[in-house]
């Protein structure tokens, strides 16, 4: 008999015990471990997916921010460039204006310098010319010339026109001091007498006359009384010539308001041709040498 029934029963029991033991010690723990691992992996995968999604989101955000930043930067840059351009043009304008002003000022200065130099040269020339003329005339002047001058003076005195004559006459009459006759050289007695005569005849009165020598007249004779003056002298001519030249220069540079210092302080009017006796203001003769 191949089948032993006791053994069969024993094996069935053995097998059932083995099933229970293996269930207890093999299948359940292993399956639990596998399940736990699968759950864990699934959780990790889900976590990774979530993290990935989050990272994607953050990346998008970052990209968005980056783009915004780029735009802002570009805007700021262009704005700054425009400002810089405006500033540059402004500075250039300023510099150009400053340069213009500087150059015009420089030109002005140059012009002034040139003008001043011109004026100095003119003044100098003028002074030299008058000094030469004055020197020459002084050298030429002599007693004989004084005689001629006396003749000219007396003739002028006699030919004096009415208005001047009246003024002078009134001055002579009201004068308390004797009338003063000044000459460059000491006048001889006959000339003094001639002048006295001429005065007496002209004004039909006895005129008190005092003679005086004044070398600064260069050459000439001057009658002054009580503020009125009748004169004929080369100094007068020279003074009036100087005045005329000064006026000419002034006219030439009319644009300049600068008052030029005059070489001569002569302020008297230009004597008329022939140096006729003319009534003068109360200002004194200031012909200086």
């Amino acid at each position: 008999m191949l089948i032993d029934w006791f053994t069969v029963i024993a094996q069935v029991v053995n097998f059932l015990i083995l099933v229970w033991l293996l269930k207890r010690f093999l299948y359940r723990p292993i399956l639990d471990a596998v399940d736990a691992r699968e759950k864990r992996i699934a959780a990790e995968l889900a976590d990774a997916a979530a993290k990935k999604a989050e990272a994607q989101k953050e990346r998008d955000q970052f990209q968005h921010k980056n783009e915004e930043f780029d735009q802002q930067r570009a805007a700021l840059l262009s704005q700054a460039m425009e400002e810089a351009k405006a500033e540059r043009s402004r500075l250039l304008d300023e510099a150009r204006k400053a340069a213009d002003a500087f150059s015009s000022r420089r030109q002005e200065t140059l012009r002034n310098d040139a003008h001043n130099l011109n004026q100095a040269i003119r003044r100098r020339t003028q002074q030299e010319v008058f000094a030469i003329a004055r020197k020459a005339l002084t050298d030429l002047a002599s007693t004989s010339l004084e005689q001629r001058l006396e003749e000219v003076f007396t003739r002028r005195l006699r030919e004096m026109d009415g208005k001047a004559k009246q003024g002078l006459a009134a001055a002579l009459k009201t004068a308390s001091a004797p009338a003063l006759v000044r000459s460059a050289f000491d006048l001889p007695a006959e000339q003094r007498a001639a002048i006295q005569n001429a005065l007496n005849e002209t004004f039909s009165a006895e005129i008190q006359v005092r003679f005086e020598t004044a070398p600064d007249l260069v050459s000439g004779i001057e009658l002054s009384t009580n503020g009125q003056k009748l004169a004929w002298s080369i100094a007068d001519y020279l003074a009036s010539l100087e005045q005329g030249v000064d006026e000419l220069l002034k006219e030439k540079h009319k644009s300049e308001a600068k008052a030029e210092p005059r070489p001569e302080a002569g302020t008297e009017r230009k004597p008329e041709a022939g140096a006729g006796p003319e009534p003068e203001g109360p200002k004194p003769e200031t012909t200086s040498r």
């Binding site: 191949l2 089948i3 032993d4 029934w5 006791f6 053994t7 069969v8 029963i9 024993a10 094996q11 069935v12 053995n14 097998f15 059932l16 015990i17 083995l18 099933v19 229970w20 033991l21 293996l22 269930k23 010690f25 093999l26 299948y27 723990p29 292993i30 399956l31 639990d32 471990a33 596998v34 736990a36 691992r37 864990r40 992996i41």
Partner: protein, 229 residues
């Protein structure tokens, strides 16, 4: 000549006896349970695990997959029974490489016991799944005329299970013993290797047939295609 380890009797007291089949079975049980305890004592649910744990995981999940492929929807429920069938038969043949060992499955008593377990388990699982009426009605299908044939089929397939495994295992052991007397060198090794192969194939056949029977009993009403393959 000894045909089965049943005849290797160590102790006997009347009806009770302790023969080679029972002793070798206990040895197998001890090895299986002790190995399982040793490995599963420190299981790690993490990604790093020991090689033995890996091996057992592969075996268990492979059996689980096999049950699922046959068509049982909750393989974990049947894993204890079917997995133990496979492991027991496979280990019984694997241990033939140990000298002096005789596989307990080479005893018709053991294979009959296993076949009886399947014979009982199939209706139990069927009734659990479909209820008593549902299970019994399956015997009347397609018509009531088939009832006797269905019953005969139940019995004969159980007998076939037992005898097939017994024949294969016993023949392997017998061939080895005969060859050892004829050509003591080299050739028995080749036959031993062949015996290992046939032992593994028989283990697979035995457990897969049991799975098929259970599957037939539980899902006879309609093979629902589960969400998983």
């Amino acid at each position: 000549m000894r045909l089965s380890p049943d005849q290797m009797i160590f102790w006997q007291h009347g009806f009770l006896k302790l023969n080679g089949t029972i002793v070798f079975t206990w040895g197998l049980m001890f090895v299986l349970v002790a190995g399982s305890i040793l490995v599963t004592r420190k299981l790690s649910p993490g990604l790093r695990r020991s090689r033995w744990q890996n091996l057992l995981e592969i075996v268990v999940t492979a059996i689980n997959e096999q049950i699922k492929e046959v068509g049982l929807r909750q393989p974990e429920k049947y894993l204890g029974f079917l997995g133990t069938l496979f492991l027991f038969v496979a280990m019984a043949s694997v241990f033939t490489i140990v000298p002096g060992y005789e596989p307990p499955t080479g005893s018709l008593s053991t294979t009959a016991a296993l076949a009886i377990c399947v014979f009982v388990a199939v209706p139990l699982f069927g009734i659990e799944d479909r209820g008593l009426g549902g299970y019994l009605r399956a015997y009347l299908k397609p018509t009531f005329i088939m009832l006797p044939f269905n019953i005969i089929s139940e019995l004969s397939r159980t007998l076939a299970l037992a005898v097939r495994l017994f024949g294969n295992m016993m023949s392997g052991t017998m061939i080895l013993a005969i060859l050892l007397t004829i050509t003591p060198f080299v050739f028995p090794i080749a036959m031993s290797a062949l015996g290992l192969l046939t032992g593994m194939v028989q283990a697979y056949i035995f457990s897969i047939l049991a799975t098929v029977y259970i599957a037939a009993a539980t899902r006879a009403r309609k093979p629902e295609p589960g969400p998983e393959d």
